[in-house]
Amino acid sequence: MKLDDLQRVAEQEEDFQRAYKYRINVCCSSGCVPFGALKVLKAFEDAVKEFGVENECKVARTGCIGTCSVGPAVLVEPGDYLYQSVTPEKVREIVRDHIVLGLPVKEMLYSNQAYFQKQHRLVLRNAGKIDPSRIQDYISAGGYSAIAKCLATMTPQGVIYEVRTSGLRGRGGAGFPTGQKWSLVARAQNFPKYIVANLDEGDPGVFANRTLAEADPHAIIEGMLIAAYAVGAEKGYIYIRSEYPLAIQTLQKAIAQAKSMSLLGNNILELGSFKFDLELRFGAGAFVAGEETAILASVEGRRAMPRPRPPYPANSGLWKKPTLIQNVETLANIPLIVQNGGLWFSRTGTPKCTGTKCFSLTGKVGNPGLIEVPMGITLREVVFDIGGGVPDGKKFKAVLVGGPSGGCLPETLLESRIDYDSLTKVGAIMGSGGIVVLDEDSCMVDTARFFTEFCIDESCGKCTPCRAGLARVKEIYDKITHGQGELGDIATLEKSGVFIRDASLCGLGQTAPNPVITTLRYFKDEYFKHILEKECEAGKCFKTRDEEAEQ
């Protein structure tokens, strides 16, 4: 395919879509499929035929619309009418009233406008709007024009300059400046070079990367292409969790389509001699594999164990060659930056932390789902304005930001802004983007114990602070939650937490004590109650031996 062909495909697809007056987007992502989305899709296809409107109404299978708690969700364009909890039985009514008569079915519409008002969709620009299984949909939405622009008019250095200007930082959690990372790999004089896209979203309670892959796989591929051009890489891998079958399927299809249109492979777009090949690699259920040196070991077919840095992957990564590792969310931002310029991108968010961030908002919150917000928004806005606060008249207790190794923040810190530095200051992390809301039914001591247990399970066992330290911490928690806690335990926990944080080899160990440290910092009262009065207000702890034996 040549540059002109790309333009032609886009125009053809636009004409094709213009022929339809309406478009019904049925969310068929992993959040909605278990609840009958495929049956709803089939029902829509049948219903438009039954009413004889199949020539003016297109039924499309799309990715996540974002309102995962009221699935299956259906979006009718034009007008962005969002229907919630659609069942096959309700489909005929929607087609009859909305499509045939032009009267939206009000009582089935998603009424919570606040959910979308404070969101800002850059990464998820196409999610729920395009059919991820059709490359033409992506191309007509402006897709692959950014890589075309790079190849036709920009030098690799020019691309890196734009990414630097944008201020984009790695969305995998650590927040390393993306442009700087690219410069390092570009400067390395050792060939071939590799790119690894990190889609090993191991955090329980987080599904933003999966959603992106299911909804807009080509955005990830295009981001990788641009990165490859900028740093001079010829081969890329997408490392994806094997627990994400639909995302794998979607990506496989997308890669095959891109190859067949020679957007991957040799002589891409017949502009210069740029070539890039892409393969999927499957994870196998190891949380630590998301760490950048561990992911390399796993792609090479070994145990996913981190190694000390330096040497950094930028100089010595896959098979000891220069390797660029980026989270897929970071990569999905790249086409936008190339298209609109780094300066344009840097206007969203805060000066030090530009752009947006996707979060999985879950737990005891009214509107759980997948959200994308500008950096710098406050936690209160996310939990109460977008999330709708705590349901069932319960009282808000804490918000856990950053997954199992994030921090538990109390109500007094809800004015904290979401950006890498502010979150670190209060003891939380951006992590991979999980926000879990806890209400008065959660016990903070028990919560910290739960996360410690998770990190013990997932510790690779290489370094002692993480392997042995976390086990000791859990022993203390078991003591406290069984009524044998002593006052000295608090100091021991504090000391151990700080020690594990400072002495561990990789990000897993360094962040694992965060729940311990933050619950001790903000909810010390609960620890005292557990130890001195043997009382757990949430009723989670102090199960008798009989009760435990029963389990």
């Binding site: 959040g31 278990p34 499957f282 196998a284 077919g301 199992p404 999980g434």
Partner: protein, 163 residues
């Protein structure tokens, strides 16, 4: 192994596709588990021989990743999601109820081999928490009653087929 000719043939094809390369070990293990259902000692020895790498390396990699099953699972598999969102929404109570009702422990199977209860750290349907998966069907916003009823149903369907 010899008596499973067809499955061994499929495995050989996978090995060949990956050029018997050590770096493809994870991919090969994934395929082998798909073909055989689980990875037992003989199978791992076979893979180790085919790739010409030490058995300790193959065992090391296999046991490191929780996705690989080393024991034969039950005919029906119930998986409880113990991710954060499900934990906060009391999935623990449902797990305890299943364990009591069907007399098995998480990670194990019933004595007749009909039912296994596994845990996973997140299936990613957090907005519908708590989630329990019964034979690949996700039950979202699960309750004890719903799940137990569903498990009884899949178990009884089997009896019907047998009869």
């Amino acid at each position: 192994m010899a008596k499973d000719d067809k499955r061994r043939f499929m495995l050989e094809k996978v090995l060949k596709e990956h050029n018997y390369q050590e770096s493809a070990l994870l991919e090969i293990l994934h395929h082998a588990q798909e073909i055989y259902g689980y990875l037992d000692k003989d199978l791992l020895m076979d893979i180790s021989g085919s790739l010409n790498i030490p058995p300790s390396h193959v065992f090391g990699v296999t046991t490191f990743y929780s996705f690989f099953k080393l024991r034969k699972p039950g005919q029906h598999i119930v998986t409880g999601c113990l991710g954060t969102a499900c934990y906060v929404k009391e999935v623990e109570q449902i797990m305890e109820a299943i364990e009591q009702e069907f007399n098995l422990k998480r990670g194990g199977s019933t004595s007749d081999g009909k039912l296994s209860l596994l845990i996973t750290r997140c299936i990613g349907a957090c907005a519908m928490a708590p989630n329990i998966v019964v034979d690949n069907e996700v039950i979202g916003k699960a309750t004890k009653e719903l799940v137990i009823q569903k498990i009884r149903q899949v178990l009884s369907e089997e009896k019907k087929i047998e009869a």
